[in-house]
Symmetry: C2
Subunit: 333 residues, 2 copies
């Protein structure tokens, strides 16, 4: 590819979408908007195309020069005609999903609409994209057996084994936040599961069960409240059991951990998590490392770029870290 | 490779080892012996070399013609100097393992000793090898997203995602029989875990907890004993939860199931397992299939051969199924 090559990235969440364009020197522009949730099922991918085109205009480049687009999106995905569509319960209001959503979409034809406009499109789960970013530029550089975990509103994973990032039959590998760990009936997940990891410890659920927010819970725990302290430690032990289950299945060497809970509280929760992990099957767990994510709020954008980036850009970007100048880009809404 | 190429296979378990040699026409000889557990840590791999050489003699071929050897072995493995060694708790008596074992081995230098004798050696976990056999010749032919599971004395898995068989940092991917599913203190696994899948349902443990053997339990359940029936159904539900956790993590399409429990009781347990699996995260679970393993007692031998087999043999063996003539090969002990 020539120095003139431009690539695009999309980060699609339940609340907002972000579009970024970049050339060999680094990201050129980044725009965000609230996620479209009304109109036809094509509305959201058409919004994505328009936001990428707006980012191109802001960067002063022709959108026709975008040779490749990488996409990180909330899942789960459904596959139809070989194309990935979104069946995310916080975007699609059809079926058994949240009746408060202002649409009756069953599946958003994401890849199909993007391919009508762009020749090369690669769509992956948002945690898979974050893993790609951390492997290419962050805390898991060149690590063959690693996982990205976010501990935030929900719990999500991206897995890499033997140097292969795992996708699965419909691109849904990594939904291990929904692994069942307990028979507790009172820990209910948004997906309907009882006793899965997300139900037990996600930012939303750990607070719900004690009638305080997760921020209040961990803050109160660190301020010395005994009940909150025990609840926070219990959450850390559940997280450790989750990481242990992944290690038993995949023989993982390194977990890179992001998300708001870990970003703010990871340092003091780490010994508890590690002790729980290492208390099982030492032949597999004794050399496992846990590191905080390195790329912060731009992990999904940079990861989506890394999915489609010419190989010769990587060394240059590793040196120059050009994404760091993009922090605090303004919203367009 | 020429028509004269010969390959070897080893199947190493806690009770016995088997050696097989084959040429393009099919397996030529198979010998088994009780697993060596005395002497130096080299005793077991040296026994493996001798048994392969004996199998060559029986087949009337020169052991020097064995260009490649595939090995399926009980795990877990430890890696030292890039070579796989065995730290299997039912073979190595050192460390915290069973004091009744007649040795103090910490790690058996399996790959190192085999490589002193054979130029090309590939060592994999026994369930990974079984998965390779079922993908090449059995119930999971050419399936990209699948798993092999054995439900027997223990519970073991082999995983394939996106067409890649998963090994992990030390070749220990697939130890998901040791995933934690419950907080039950009374379900204790041989590895020390409480409430892992193997502790809850393995052939050894499901019987222990009711003071009857697994065979008695499932037999009694089918004969109409209400208590045994409920315990068997509960075991099937735990198994379904285990398969669900794997599906959530890896987006698996097909489980091929072997082992004595499933071989004898899978047909009537299947609806219970499937109902439990499908009751979670339908976007991932609604199209998952469960099939019985196709290769029976020779799955590990044929799988070990398939690890090192010239590609042009595969189509020929798929047609002729030459392993079927090897059933009932005699023991040499």
């Amino acid at each position: 590819m020539s120095e003139n090559t431009c690539i695009g990235a999309l980060d699609i969440g339940g609340t907002k979408i972000a579009a970024m364009v970049a050339d060999a020197s680094g990201p050129l522009a980044r725009l965000t908007q609230p996620t479209a949730k009304t109109g036809s099922p094509r509305a959201l991918p058409e919004q994505c195309v328009a936001l990428l085109e707006a980012a191109c205009r802001q960067a002063g480049i022709d959108a026709g020069r975008l040779s490749r687009v990488g996409v990180g999106s909330a899942g789960p995905f459904e596959r139809s005609g070989g194309m990935i569509g979104l069946a995310s319960p916080n975007i699609c209001g059809g079926g058994k999903n949240d009746p408060a959503l202002p649409n009756d979409w069953e599946v958003v034809p994401l890849e199909q609409v993007l391919r009508e406009r762009f020749a090369h499109v690669t769509v992956d789960n948002d945690c898979v994209v974050a893993l790609a970013a951390e492997r290419t530029f962050g805390a898991a550089r060149d690590e063959r057996d690693c996982a990205y975990v976010t501990w935030s509103t929900g719990i999500g994973f991206g897995f890499c084994v033997d140097g292969h990032i795992l996708r699965g039959k419909n691109g849904n590998a990594g939904h291990a936040g929904h692994m069942l760990l307990s028979e507790r009936e009172d820990a209910v997940c948004g997906c309907g599961n009882r006793g899965d990891l997300e139900a037990l410890i996600s930012g939303r659920n750990v607070g719900n069960r004690l009638n305080i927010s997760a921020v209040e819970l961990f803050g109160s725990a660190r301020a010395g409240n005994a009940e909150a302290h025990e609840a926070a430690l219990q959450a850390a032990r559940w997280f450790g059991r989750g990481l242990y289950n992944v290690t038993a299945a995949l023989d993982t060497r390194l977990f890179v951990i992001g998300g708001s809970v870990w970003t703010h509280h990871g340092a003091w929760l780490l010994p508890v998590v590690l002790r729980e992990l290492e208390s099982h099957l030492p032949a597999l767990t004794r050399d496992v490392s846990l590191l905080p994510a390195a790329l912060g709020g731009l992990v999904a954008d940079v990861g989506a770029l890394s999915l489609v980036m010419p190989a010769e850009w990587v060394a240059r970007w590793r040196d120059s870290k050009p994404w760091s100048k993009m922090r605090g880009a303004p919203d367009v809404s």
